[in-house]
């Protein structure tokens, strides 16, 4: 009798847990992440602050092709490819064997597998690196495979193994093809706006890479980069703060916060954007996740619709970055995030205070100020990387001193009518009558 209780995971559990926590869109992004990493390695691109530098790397050498239908989901890239050895020992393992280093998007070693299991019941990955023959890994019938009990494995058989064979592939790069699309994914894809949504997400998520390093096509059409709509004008300048010493200098962050360009002052695009190694993980967040309504920071309200805040995290140690495994949202307990969150709010608070003052009243001055805000023009993110630390600059909102008090009281309509008659102004407004009443009292004093 063994003197321990088995805590070994079942295959079924693993696959269910992995796929339950991720949405279709994020699974596609996971596949693209792998392709981006492959392209970055193949071309010695860097996913670091150079992404924010103007000029650097306008060679869009990487190409990623995504095809999505309810029959199959394919993604093809011209990245560095997967070496046969890596395929045997690393790439298909659930979870990393070693911790990751280098400024990559891959962190946990789970994205590719999760996407494969999430989207379909069969998949095929073919790849080839330079100076090697290609291979093909394929699994037909994930459902049968996951039911196969590791305890009943035959001698010499790896119950977690995925069949691998040589493949006469000519080009360097990787193809992933998922078929027997799962019924729930097919349901999502039946809604024809789903692919449009994926296209928008891809355009935002990889906006920095799409500007410089690579192109992505979805169903044959290029995805345009969706830039984060931060703006500036002569009077309104964004705040910038660089924080270099996180985790003993292993993680760097740059915070930029300001006013959205005049065409994008909408609630949908307002809020915080957080990027890890150039990839957007939080997109226009207006929830407590990024501090809205937490401690002294205000809750998001409509008058903050012109607010844009961006945090760029960069590290050669991706496991130190604040992303979650799904790369949608931040891990609030990550040291890197804890280290910047107060700075984020400190940098942003003068902006929310400014915007609130602006929409507080409707007087002439507030209107002038609003016009200034609405005339902010778009600026490229590159201009902030090299920028020195600066605080938000805005024209002062002057509270005009006034000695006026508003007088309000209730009167019956019969009284108003009677007063109008006395005044000999049958169509006098209620406020005219109020004014006349006050004047009458004042005359008594003269």
């Amino acid at each position: 009798m063994p003197n321990y209780a088995s805590a070994r995971p079942t295959k079924r559990f693993f696959i269910q847990m992995l796929t339950a926590d991720i949405a279709l869109e994020d699974a596609i992004l996971d596949l693209i992440d792998n392709s981006v990493d492959g392209i970055v390695r193949a071309n010695n691109f860097r996913l670091d602050e150079s992404l924010l530098r103007a000029g650097a790397g306008t060679r869009k050498k990487g190409h990623i092709d995504v095809n999505i239908s309810d029959e199959e989901i394919c993604i093809t890239d011209n990245g560095i490819g997967i070496a046969r050895k890596e395929a045997e020992h690393d790439v298909f393992r659930l979870g990393r064997v070693r911790s990751t280093s280098g400024n990559t998007l891959g962190v946990y070693g789970i994205g590719l597998k999760r996407a494969l299991f999430k989207l379909g019941n069969a998949f095929e990955v073919t790849s080839r690196v330079k100076n090697e023959r290609g291979f093909r890994a394929s699994l037909q019938g994930v459902d049968v495979w996951q039911r196969h009990d590791p305890d009943k494995a035959l001698k010499g058989e790896d119950p977690w193994g995925i069949p691998l064979e040589d493949h006469s592939r000519k080009t360097i790069g990787t193809d992933v093809r998922i078929t027997e699309i799962r019924p729930e994914i097919r349901m999502r894809l039946r809604d024809r706006t789903t692919v449009a949504e994926i296209r928008r997400r891809v355009g935002t998520t990889y906006c920095l890479m799409l500007e410089k390093y690579l192109t992505i096509k979805i169903n044959g059409e290029l995805v345009p980069p969706q830039e984060i709509p931060i703006g500036r004008s002569r009077q309104l300048k964004a705040a910038v703060k660089h924080i270099a010493n996180i985790q003993g200098g292993k993680v760097k962050a740059t915070i930029v916060a300001g006013i959205a360009d005049g065409n994008n002052q909408r609630t949908e695009s307002a809020g915080w954007y957080i990027l890890c190694n150039g990839r957007v993980i939080v997109n226009a967040d207006r929830t407590s996740m990024t501090g809205w309504g937490v401690d002294g920071f205000p809750l998001y309200v409509q008058s903050f619709r012109a607010f844009i805040g961006i945090v760029f995290f960069f590290s050669d140690f991706p496991d130190l970055l604040p992303w979650q495994t799904t790369k949608r949202g931040i891990n609030p307990d990550s040291v890197a995030y804890i280290a910047v969150k107060d700075s984020m709010r400190a940098v942003a608070k003068p902006i929310t205070t400014y915007l609130r003052t602006l929409y507080y009243k409707d007087d002439e001055e507030a209107l002038e100020q609003r016009a200034l805000v609405e005339h902010v023009s778009h600026v490229r993110l590159e201009s902030f990387a090299a920028a020195r630390d600066a605080v938000f600059a805005a024209p002062r909102v002057i509270k005009r001193q006034t000695d006026k008090t508003r007088v309000q009281f209730d009167a019956t309509s019969a009284e108003i009518k009677k007063a109008a008659k006395i005044l000999a102004e049958p169509h006098a407004s209620a406020s005219r009558i109020g004014r006349a009443s006050l004047e009458f009292v004042l005359e008594q004093g003269d």
Partner: protein
Amino acid sequence: MSAESFRKVSYDLRPAKQIERRILLDSFQFLAKIGLPVRDYTYVGFGSIYFYDFAMFYRYLGMKRMISLEMDRAIEKRVNYNRPFKNIEIRMQSAEQFIPSIDRDERYLIWFDYDYMVDRSNLSDVQYACNALAVGSLFLVTVDAYPPASLRMKPGALRKHVTTQLLQFLPDKYPLSNLSASNMEVFSRDVILASIDKGLESRPNVEFVPLWSIGYEDTRPMYTFGGVLADRELAQTLRGSCKDFYYRLKRNESVLKIVVPRLTRKERATLDHFLPGQGLRLVKNFGINSDELENYRTFHRYFPSYSELF
């Protein structure tokens, strides 16, 4: 910063506040002796149009870099006109606007002297400032220790206000039953400390060593809380040496109350003759009660003298 309070009372005639400034000045000089060169720090305060703290810190400490924050645009001209020394930089900014420009490579002496009660906005100033300040910096905050009439008059209004507005600053199991208009000092201290803790969350090697917890009243009760951002070594040094001014003044209470006995020049001169030490009991009784004597003994070094000038 004090947009309005300067209109209500001339700063010249606030003896308790002046005693507080002198106590602080005294302790800055003490801190200089144990290795915190306060005169080389950047002083940031709300100078209003009087600049008392600025003038004192410049005259007696020799502070070189000073920044006065002023939010009230209506008095901008007067602020500039009254600036007593050239090394005082006036910024038409709120504390909130100033904080993001705090430089971690510099040491500051910051005194946010608000003229209203603790609220979400000044507590987040406290949080963000302490998050940003370098080790060795001194941070002080003054708030009203008296709720506005709207919260005083209606029973339960103060507690309701606190639980709706300041919930996120209350430590777990905070005994709100003790909350009343008369113990706002302790409450202010607790929420200020909670905000400082929040600000230092990401800096495990930095702690805030409280040095000042002072209550005083000229026109209405005010409360000042302050201390030093310290690493382990500095914290030990401070704990070892600051008993001299902090714990003695605190006399087993968490708040040092400045109470100013009203004495004539002649009475003061007589009492001074027997000080320092316990000699006041030898003074021939000329009508000063023992509480007043004790208060005078505690604060006599810091007591301002006023006279009319022509």
